[in-house]
């Protein structure tokens, strides 16, 4: 039985316990995947040229893998590549929301340290299909890497649906109408499945990301097929690379993820859970009608760095534009994260490049209190401020994640006790006042 997975466009299996589809229908082990039902796409835009790299972490029987993506033009062999998954992993790591730690200085002296952690997004799943009847035309067949690829066009959707079904692909009910609307817009279908012989010969045990490039003014990602038979919302990460600036959606709100917030220290041990809960809470606040910007940065640098920027070679492999024959690509990356379903995202995502090159990152701050000995007037002020700061951190976390405040306070363990000698609790205010007077 073949299972059809579609990029941004999934033809979902109708039955069976593992009926998943693309754009995150693929459910991996929950403990290793941050967001199950998630897909990753690198989308490079240069003028009217688009390079689309679709990651997939399909771990089932390769015979069951298939990917169907509507594409705006005919695709020649040279427009298809198979790339290293590490490219997308690197892109993911570089753009991931990050936690930064600051250690409070000795209020009487000074010290400073910084460290960063980052969370990776979940990898993606990707998704597959011969003959000239039923109005279906196989415009081309290619074998690229471990994949057999077909470029299909069709006169009408029922013929295409029948053809796909007869060819062993499982098409969900309702897909026909969606296929039809793409056909009427003169779109083709890029269909990929695994060539088992090639896969054995190449020796890959996993499926590498597929890359398609094309020239078209259409700057969009088709998500409708993927929602036809989806079981609940799906997550999609789009790493948009542009020579111009930040990329945003034009038909949905693009909203920046809250950033720069100070949170309690225990978040360090639970950063992944924090990111997940925070994203869910922000989705809820926006009524699941927004695309979130998690990172927007000039690829030449980072601060703090969750991972090193991608090398010019890596960027070239992703199809990034070059400013000159030997120059480093002048790339601005936008990491967009969307949780979507048909109800809230009825139409495909349409993008535009903007001239905005202002850097943005999802960044959360831990501040470690000074716990050493401190005896000075500034230390007294520091002690007074610390309790209210830590309460504020707890409230920030509750606001960002929707976690119960009492639970947060319990985990945070109450205000840190800073002592003058380093081990005894802080004296009550009247004693401190008395001491101060006595000192004078």
């Amino acid at each position: 039985m073949k299972r059809t997975l579609v990029l941004t466009a999934a033809l979902v299996a109708l039955s069976g316990p593992r009926a998943f589809a693309f754009c995150g229908f693929y459910v991996a082990k929950a403990d290793t995947k941050l967001f199950n039902q998630a897909s990753q796409v690198a989308l490079v835009r240069d003028g009217d040229r688009t390079v689309l790299t679709m990651a997939n972490d399909f771990q089932g029987d390769p015979k069951e893998f298939a990917l169907v993506v509507p594409v705006p033009t005919f695709i020649e062999r040279r427009q298809i590549e198979v790339v290293d998954k590490a490219l997308l992993d690197h892109l993911d790591a570089y753009t991931a929301p990050r936690l930064v730690e600051y250690f409070d200085e000795d209020p009487c002296r000074a010290r400073y340290l910084e460290e960063s952690l980052a969370v990776k997004a979940a990898p993606a799943a990707a998704g597959a299909a011969k003959r000239k009847d039923l109005g279906v035309t196989i415009e081309a067949t290619y074998t690229v890497g471990e994949y057999d690829i077909l470029i299909l066009s069709a006169k009408e959707s029922t013929g295409l649906e029948t053809w796909l079904l007869e060819s062993g692909y499982k098409i969900p009910a309702g897909a026909s109408a969606v296929l039809g609307s793409y056909l009427k817009q003169q779109m083709r279908f890029f269909v990929a499945k695994v060539n088992l012989k090639e896969q054995a010969r190449l020796g890959f045990t996993f499926l590498r990301p597929l890359q398609v490039s094309y020239e078209s003014p259409k700057f969009m990602l088709p998500i409708r097929l993927g929602t036809v038979n989806a079981k609940g919302p799906q997550d999609l990460f789009v790493f948009a690379l542009s020579g111009k600036g930040r990329v945003e959606t034009t038909n949905y709100r693009t909203v920046k993820l809250p950033s720069g917030t100070e949170v309690p220290r225990f978040v360090k041990a639970e950063f992944k859970a924090f990111y997940k809960a925070m994203f869910a809470e922000q989705v809820r606040k926006e009524d699941m009608r927004a695309v979130f910007l998690e990172y927007a940065w000039d690829m030449a640098w980072c601060d703090p760095c969750a991972a090193d920027p991608l090398s010019p070679e890596e960027l070239k492999k992703l199809g990034a534009p070059r400013t000159g024959p030997s120059a480093t690509p002048n790339v601005f990356v936008s990491r967009l994260h969307v949780r979507y379903d048909t109800q809230h995202f009825p139409e495909d995502l349409v993008f535009q490049e903007t001239a905005d090159r202002e850097n943005f990152q999802g960044r959360y701050v831990l501040r470690h209190p000074f716990t050493g000995q401190a005896q000075c007037a500034a230390a007294d002020a520091y002690r007074r401020d610390l309790a209210s700061r830590q309460e504020q951190e707890a409230q920030n976390l509750a606001r960002l994640t929707g976690w119960p405040i009492d639970e947060i306070r319990r985990k945070a363990g109450g205000p840190t006790k800073i002592t003058e000698s380093g081990d005894a609790p802080a004296a009550p205010w009247y004693r401190r006042v008395w001491k101060a007077i006595a000192r004078d």
Binding site: S181, Q185, N251, V255, E347, A355, R357
Partner: protein, 286 residues
């Protein structure tokens, strides 16, 4: 007393009339509505409007209006139209540089004074400035940023409706919205798309701002009702062409700019009474 004497003279000069409240200038409603929307966008929608740039745009349009008034020999400095243009620019245009903000303000107001045919300016000032800056690639419009919250759409429609009714040019807005909605619904029906898709496209704050505050500008629409309806339909068709054939964003803004030079032609073919903002003897104003 001198003041009393002056008052007496004035009273003597005017024939006695029963007192009637003067009708409020619709532009004041428009300024209020646009300022309210800007505040809503800043506070609730996190529109990426930098307050400093917004201020810069407003100062520029007022300064340009003042300069134009002096150079053009207009009798009085009237900031209302310029403020409307400025506020609309703040709402729609995004630019990464203060230079872009200043250029937008100058282009908007400058176009009113320079690009004129038969005493009427050709382009909606805001539209002209936006399109020129879009063409440079140094600015952009974020049509999705308004979201599709039904409440917001409703609010906008009410505010906008009020404005347009006061300006007595509701026919342009109605004709435009009807044509554009017809195109979107018809296209989706032909493609076999669910109705949720065209509805989602129509529930867009930027579309409502365009329909109620930009295309309805009585100074740049044809004089006759037939002309206005034809014009609105052309703009809607052009917008759909840019969006669904050329696959470019901001189709309506491009379309309005492209259709605006047709207005003098429509005025010649389908003549009508020239719009005036307030009652009183007609006079040249920008």
């Amino acid at each position: 007393m001198a003041a009393t004497a002056a008052t007496t003279d004035l009273l003597a000069a005017a024939p006695p009339r029963p007192w009637k409240p003067a009708p409020l200038d619709p532009r004041l409603y428009q300024i209020g509505a646009l300022a309210g929307l800007l505040a809503f966008g800043l506070l609730r929608l996190d529109l990426e409007v930098r307050p400093g740039y917004a201020a810069l745009i407003l100062v520029t349009v007022l300064a340009a209006q003042y300069g134009g008034t002096r150079l053009g020999g207009l009798p009085v400095f009237d900031p209302r139209s310029a403020l409307i243009s400025g506020l609309s620019l703040c709402l729609l245009l995004r630019t990464p540089s203060p230079l872009g903000a200043v250029a937008a303000g100058l282009l908007a107001v400058g176009s009113k004074f320079v690009l004129r045919v038969r005493g009427k300016h050709v382009f909606n000032p805001t539209n002209f400035a936006i399109v020129v800056l879009l063409a440079t690639g140094e600015a952009w419009v974020s049509p999705g940023q308004w979201g599709s919250a039904a409440f917001f759409g409703f609010l906008l429609a009410c505010l906008g409706g009020l404005v347009v009714n006061r300006a007595a040019r509701a026919d342009v807005t109605a004709a435009f919205l009807a044509t554009y909605a017809g195109i979107l619904l018809g296209r989706s029906a032909w493609l076999g798309e669910p109705v949720a898709i065209p509805l989602h496209r129509l529930q867009n704050g930027a579309l409502l701002i365009f329909a109620f505050f930009m295309i309805s500008d009585p100074r740049t629409t044809p004089d006759s009702r037939a002309g206005r309806i034809l014009f609105a339909a052309l703009v809607a068709l052009g917008g759909a062409y840019v969006q669904f054939r050329l696959f470019r964003t901001n189709g309506l803004l491009w379309s309005l700019a492209a259709c605006s030079p047709l207005v003098p032609v429509l005025d010649r073919v389908l003549p009508g009474a020239r719009h005036r903002w307030t009652a009183g003897p007609p006079r040249r104003s920008a």
